[in-house]
């Protein structure tokens, strides 16, 4: 068989050293936060819920925990997630989510984790009071027509509603501050709040519009804010299934992001989403330039060494190990609220790309060796290749008797002649039919004209 590609990636050794070093440093049971951040959290092993949720703060932490509780298989993980959610909710003011979580726990965690009606009542009472206070303040500001105070009043309202889980009202309040924004900093603040609420509500069209609005005021944009906006835009594209655009946005996120956007996304997520989307949608040159040689993104990839490994494997044609990493990551990715319904599509696209890339340099490929490289059976491989050929993504023909794939390049000359003859025929048919129809119309017109006269 013809020789296989073997591109040795000089960066690979360097990155391997960094990654592995990081893994071996951290102990398995993590207590300190710094150690937690060093250990890869999104990895092939079962998700460590506490470590995972330590990456996030605010409402997204709770929604993620509830999502994990709804979708994971093991009861222990479920209860763990619900327990942490309960503790978090007690620190906040969202009684609606609290009731939801208590219902899900269903008394399985013991008496400490049951419905605390007293707490709910107190919180709701305080909320009512606060709401009245805010309203009266806002009315006062409105009668005085002090722009800045009105803006802050609406902002406080937005924060209040957000804390209590009334996302629609929160969004409306934030949107109302738009009329009272005087400096670009205000605008940025409003945009960021609106984006946050829209992401929580899963209305990503708003996200896109507010991101573009924010990007139109460049004076107040400092690097952390730009990174936040890129992340938000990336998430919006991901939801819209525009994987190429999403990948580009995630790859533009700078290292200044750090943990400043933990109400929405963690740097590990940026790496995972960006890496997978890039792998599924970029071609080889783009992959090399924007992902593998991208110094900024390298820092993110450090945090998820498995994703880094699989990208490098893909680029250097070690498909079996690449697909193995993907398989391991799958169960954890299915527990992530943003990417879980895109996992299948992305995986299929990556697998197809791997198959296409494998066959691309060869004139003939032994399907048995290819099946080994992809760890499938020859029959399964034949089916996959058949569908790819039918979609015209691979130009080849399968010799089913000897199980060899032959590259087939269309003969341009013959194809041109065929097309020429066909076009000539079609032209002939069309013009003749047209002349006939024109004649009929003329006849009808004459008939009508003569009848009128």
């Amino acid at each position: 068989m013809d020789g296989e590609d073997d591109i040795s990636n000089p960066h690979m050794e360097e990155m391997c050293a960094n990654g592995i070093g990081g893994v071996e440093d951290a102990p398995s049971s993590s207590t300190s936060t710094t150690e937690r951040k060093n250990r890869p959290i999104i990895s092939g092993e079962q998700l460590d819920i506490e470590a995972y949720t330590g990456l996030y703060s605010g409402r997204t932490k709770i929604t993620r925990l509830i999502f994990i509780a709804n979708h994971c298989d093991s009861t222990s993980m479920q209860l763990e997630a619900l327990r942490i959610a309960y503790d978090e909710l007690k620190k906040g003011e969202n009684t609606q989510l609290f009731r939801e979580v208590v219902q899900k726990i269903d008394g399985r965690l013991g008496p400490n984790y049951s419905m605390d009606a007293a707490w709910c009542a107190t919180v709701d009472g305080k909320a009512e009071q606060k709401k009245e206070k805010l309203e009266s303040e806002l009315n006062a500001y409105r009668t005085n027509l002090i722009k800045e105070s009105i803006r802050m009043g609406y902002n406080d309202f937005g924060d209040f509603y957000y804390a209590h889980g009334a996302l629609g009202d929160a969004f409306k309040s934030y949107a109302r501050t738009r009329d009272y924004c005087t400096t670009s900093k205000h605008i940025i603040q409003m945009c960021l709040s609106a984006i946050l609420v829209s992401i929580e509500m899963c209305q990503f069209t708003h996200v896109t519009s507010y991101v573009s609005k924010a990007e139109q005021t460049p004076e107040a944009l400092d690097p952390p804010t730009t990174s936040k906006l890129h992340c938000a835009a990336g998430l919006a594209h991901l939801e819209a299934k525009k994987y190429k655009l999403a990948a580009r946005k995630f790859l533009e996120v700078g290292p200044e992001l750090g943990n400043s956007y933990s109400e929405v996304i963690a740097p590990q997520d940026v790496a995972t989403y960006g890496g997978l989307c890039a792998l599924a949608s970029f071609d080889r040159t783009e992959l090399k330039n924007k992902v593998i040689d991208n110094i900024n993104f390298r820092n993110f990839l450090e945090l998820v060494p498995e994703v880094r490994e699989l990208i490098n494997d893909f680029y250097s044609s070690h498909y079996a190990s690449c697909l193995e990493y993907l398989g391991n990551l799958k169960s954890n990715l299915m527990l992530d609220i943003h990417i879980h319904d895109h996992v299948e599509t992305l995986y299929d696209q990556i697998r197809s790309k791997a198959l296409i890339q494998y066959t691309h340099p060869f004139v003939s490929v032994d399907m048995r060796m290819m099946a080994d490289a992809f760890k499938t059976s020859v029959a399964g491989l034949e089916k996959e290749l058949e569908s790819l050929i039918a979609e015209n993504q691979i130009q080849a023909r399968i010799d089913s008797h000897n199980k060899i794939l032959y590259a087939r390049h269309a003969d341009q000359r013959n194809a041109t002649f065929q097309r020429v003859l066909q076009t000539g025929n079609e032209f002939d048919l069309d013009v003749r039919a047209m002349l006939l129809r024109a004649n009929l119309l003329k006849h009808e017109y004459n008939l009508r004209a003569s009848r009128k006269i």
């Binding site: 399968i398 010799d399 089913s400 008797h401 003859l421 009929l440 006849h443 009808e444 017109y445």
Partner: protein, 421 residues
């Protein structure tokens, strides 16, 4: 009567005489019709080859009334002899009468249930009546009907090969194309059938007529057989009535087409079984069965795009045939018909698909391309001529002039004042 006969005999010499004769005959027409029973003996006095016009008038009056059985076959002989020996220029002076006579001829032939007798005379009649080979007369559909009923399709093919551009009556065109489509289907020339049926379906019509509906049903089926797909919408130049209503009127066929496009033979066959009566009542069941078998062909053709060699067992599985033997039969048939290029290796039970061996390097191919170019140039010229004619037509200018936009004084040009309303 005798006077008329002598006049005919006298004035059938030169063209001007014939014209005056025509006036006389027109005036005498009613009296001829009144005396129709007495006329047959006078026919013997006239010679059809010299006195065609007079003969025609007499003949038309003779056959006007009801005809008895015995008279029928003698009339048939008379008419047939007349058609073969008459002079084309003289008949063209009275085309309606001629058409009338021929139609009655056809009715008689059908009454006697011997359509074959009418085929050859009708063909001669068409050739004599036609002003040019592009002219469609009222006799064309009658001729095709006789061919269909007598099942001699080959004679019809010569008529169908000609391009039609001039039409007297739209109804003639519809019938002609419909019958022509049926004949082409009978000869398995699906491309020609598609062309003819397409003309019917997209012809300008203010209201949808029954011929178009029946033609549409066949059009769907032939489209499936020939192209393997059916375009869900009629092209934009089809009349609006057709676009809206045809699909509703042919619902089972449209559903058949969508079931075909799903690619599952089993579903298609169940659908056909379920609606067998409807297809049968339209006399389309044979065509439907052909459409179903064309699906196997389409699937096998798709396989040639993906595979170089494939075992017969695999082919049978993928195309949902029952056994490798059936697959072998299908592939063999397709190779014979020239639809695919392949070799069957019976020892291994393998089929090897080959490329189209046409290299486009032979003299025949060059001749074919050359003749194609010539034909297209002629058609193109014709189109230009028609376009020029149309641009000079006063009716068109009036309408176009009225609707033109005017932006400044320089635009007030070409179209004469009288037309600017």
């Amino acid at each position: 009567m005798e006077a008329l006969v002598t006049q005919i005999q006298g004035l059938s010499g030169t063209a001007s005489d014939v014209l005056s004769l025509q006036n006389l005959l027109k005036q005498a027409d009613d009296s001829l019709h009144a005396e129709s029973t007495r006329l047959p003996p006078f026919l013997d006095q006239l010679d059809p080859s010299k006195h065609s016009l007079g003969y025609l008038y007499f003949l038309e009056a003779c056959t006007a009334g009801p005809v008895t059985q015995e008279q029928a076959s003698s009339f048939l002989l008379t008419i047939a002899r007349f058609i073969s020996s008459c002079v084309a220029e003289q008949i063209r002076l009275a085309p309606d009468k001629f058409i009338c006579v021929c139609k009655r001829f056809k009715d008689q032939v059908l009454l006697l249930e011997e359509p074959l007798r009418g085929v050859a005379p009708m063909l001669t009649a068409i050739r004599k009546l036609q002003l040019s080979s592009e002219h469609l007369t009222a006799l064309h559909p009658e001729f095709l009907l006789l061919c269909l009923l007598s099942k001699c399709y080959k004679t019809a093919l010569s008529i169908l090969e000609e391009d039609i551009f001039e039409v007297d009556q739209p109804r003639d065109l519809f019938l002609f194309c419909y019958y022509g489509g049926m004949i082409s289907i009978g000869q398995k020339q699906f491309r020609k059938a598609l062309e003819l049926l397409h003309n019917v379906v997209t012809a300008p019509m203010s209201t949808v007529n029954a011929i178009a509906v029946e033609a549409f049903k066949k059009y769907i089926l032939v489209s499936l057989i020939h192209h393997g797909q059916f375009p869900t919408n009629l092209p934009k130049y089809a009349s609006s009535g057709a676009q809206r209503n045809l699909k509703n009127l042919c619902q089972p066929y449209v559903e058949l087409a969508s079931s075909y496009s799903n690619g599952k033979i089993a579903d298609l066959e169940t659908y056909v079984e379920a609606n067998k009566d409807k297809f049968e009542s339209d006399n389309n069941l044979g065509l439907v069965k052909q459409a179903v078998s064309s699906m196997y062909k389409r699937n096998i053709q798709r396989l040639t795009q993906t595979y170089l060699t494939l075992s017969l067992q695999d082919i049978a599985n993928r195309v949902q045939l029952n056994s490798p033997k059936e697959a072998e039969m299908h592939v063999l048939q397709m190779i014979k018909d020239g639809e695919i290029y392949a070799t069957i290796n019976q020892k291994d039970g393998m089929v090897r698909f080959l490329e189209d061996p046409e290299q486009y390097k032979t003299c025949e191919m060059i001749e074919r391309i050359d003749s194609s170019i010539q034909r297209l140039m002629t058609v193109s010229k014709k189109l230009n001529v028609m376009d020029e004619l149309m641009s000079c037509d006063p009716l068109y200018l009036a309408k176009a002039g009225r609707e033109r936009q005017r932006f400044d004084f320089d635009d007030f040009d070409n179209v004469p004042q009288r037309y600017n309303i």
